[in-house]
């Protein structure tokens, strides 16, 4: 583990972390990963987010699709839980709400595989500040 000893250390670390994230986000090559974020705050979990996350992983494995599935906090759309965000390489992230198992299949088969939108997109309703 690299310890952060100076402010410069931290800034260098930030740059390299950002660069690798950027690479993930900007590149448009097919071998780039699909990124899936599952909203896993208390309310999301109560609405079944954990099951949906494992089901995503299960289907992606079965279908042999390379994807990065991670968890995140409350997106604020608590009325539409479980909510997930999908980022295809080179595209804007999209949030889907009320995701159940059928929706997972639909999202994978249509959106992730073919880039075709499916019903149930939750429009982003806020701007988040970036610190700098």
């Amino acid at each position: 583990m690299n310890k952060v000893k100076t402010l410069d250390d931290l800034k260098k670390m930030r740059e390299s972390l950002r660069a690798s994230l950027d690479l993930r986000e900007k590149s448009n090559t097919p071998d780039q990963l699909v990124q899936i974020k599952v909203s896993m705050a208390t309310c999301g979990i109560a609405a079944g987010a954990k099951e949906i996350m494992s089901y995503f992983i299960e289907v992606l494995n079965r279908e042999n699709i390379d994807a990065l599935v991670t968890q995140t906090g409350c997106m604020g759309y608590c009325y539409a839980e479980p909510t997930i965000e999908i980022k295809l390489p080179g595209k804007e992230p999209l949030v889907f709400g009320y995701v159940d198992k059928t929706k997972v299949e639909e999202i994978i088969n249509k959106y992730i595989r073919q880039g075709i939108l499916v019903d149930g997109i939750i429009p982003v309703t806020y701007t988040a500040v970036k610190p700098e």
């Binding site: 931290l10 995140t72 906090g73 759309y77 009325y79 149930g120 806020y126």
Partner: protein
Amino acid sequence: MAQYTNYILVCGGTGCRASQSEQIIENLKAAVDQYGLEDTQVIRTGCFGFCEKGPVVKMIPDNTFYVQVQPSDADEIVREHLVKGRKVERLLYVNPETHELVPDSKHIGFYKKQLRIALRNCGFINPENIDEYIARDGYVALGKALVEMTPEEVIKEIMDSGLRGRGGGGFPTGLKWQITRKVQAPQKYVVCNADEGDPGAFMDRSILEGDPHSIVEAMAINGYCTGASKGLVYIRAEYPLAVERLKIAIRQAKEYGLLGENIFGTDFSFDIEIRYGAGAFVCGEETALIHSMEGLRGEATVKPPFPSEHGYKGCPTNVNNVETYANIPVILLRGAKWFSSIGTEKSKGTKVFALAGKVNNVGLIEVPMGTTLREVIFGIGGGIKDGKKFKAVQTGGPSGGCLTEKHLDLPIDYDNLLSAGSMMGSGGMIVMDEDDCMVAMAKFYLDFTVEESCGKCAPCRIGNKRLHEILQKITSGNGTEDDLTRLRNLATVIKDTALCGLGQTSPNPVLSTMDNFYDEYLAHVREHRCPSHQCRELTQYFINPEKCKGCTLCARVCPVHAITGDRKIPHIIDPQSCIRCGTCMEKCKFGAIYVH
């Protein structure tokens, strides 16, 4: 395989669905087929948060935003926009200030309404991965403070930003830090108040669950400023996920050397420990919280002395709320000037609200101070459920008051809410519709306070119990007008004499409902009637003989056999045996049963 390049997004949120968005989808699909546009797909989405102007339709890729669309507009949208490539101007949104047409969603001011500062990383980063936090400028504010600024400079920045405590009181945060700093003592503490006792609020939990590192970082900054080497997070044990993520964050920060000895190579050392609360409301009050951490009973004590002077184990202790902390790193990175440009004159920045009750879009929202209740409830909140009428909104939880129709255009900030008879509190916002009885609502909150009173002082321990009894009497139909006078007098006395904030604010729901809905109280005591039919003892069920078909269903479902009647003959309810459960009314297929 079809390849789509154009998308028509139609809002399928509750608000827009109520104004025929399903029909719009049908019609759009039909028009797309009719014009043979194989590259166009119609998609149903969730709420755009723009329900006031619904139904809304958004065209992708050019982001044109059409508002108040009718099903009959579908053909024109497809023909003009997609076939001919011209915008349908009459359906564009008109900026209410400049009266100009707004061509695309990026320029609609509405999207600037929700601004996430405290929640900036929630739903964005993986809270269990410190690297994602660092990639979003995490710990840079701490580094900047330690390496490039003196504690006084940091405090000045926080003061200039105008940040006030988000835990309820709204005390200027920079000033509190300065007071703690000035007290001389060998050991000081900084505390994060994550007790979150307001039953309607969950923003602190969400921040800890979604962005725990921001709290760790801000507490360290606070320690640097006030001269404390130790931080304590007081969190309720009922928040296991928040606790877990906070623990992970603290561990990771230690591994990276961002907590511990000589942070960033300076001589500042700081460490954080977690303390668990049992979930008593009064333990959110800072003096009670400190006693609870000391292993004593969670009881409040008189202030002064303030914790900043005499707190945990007698040491100067700076207590701040979770959301207050979450703002700190951003203020240091973007500057006091930027932060103070957001909000109203005396309330700067944003506030997170937990929107709940009878609104369509229950959720966690963050808006600049000064946003109106109307924008929150009817814009972001998507309006009232089932097309019902708005009645009131309770802010400030059990310590707050209700605001009504006439307050809808009030810019929300600390001072406006106080002068309207409510308070900011921690940010719970419970919306009530025409079906809610305000007397019952006041009683509901008193149930809570009576349960949560620590019992140390008489006005709160005994007074609230009496208040509750009077309300019980009124809601069961035995109240008199004298009771209303007694209610108000007693409420005022409790407010003036209780020892801590819990007792001093507990009569607020009673007083504010009396101020705003006196006629409802009068109906209960004069006519023994509950206008919203919520108070069971005051309602009576009837069968309308004109509508009753004599199907016997109600008689069969009534749990106490209070309904009699023969087949094909109008039935009758015996008010003596009816327990007012409402089952019959729910089941009758002919709408023959009504309540009065």
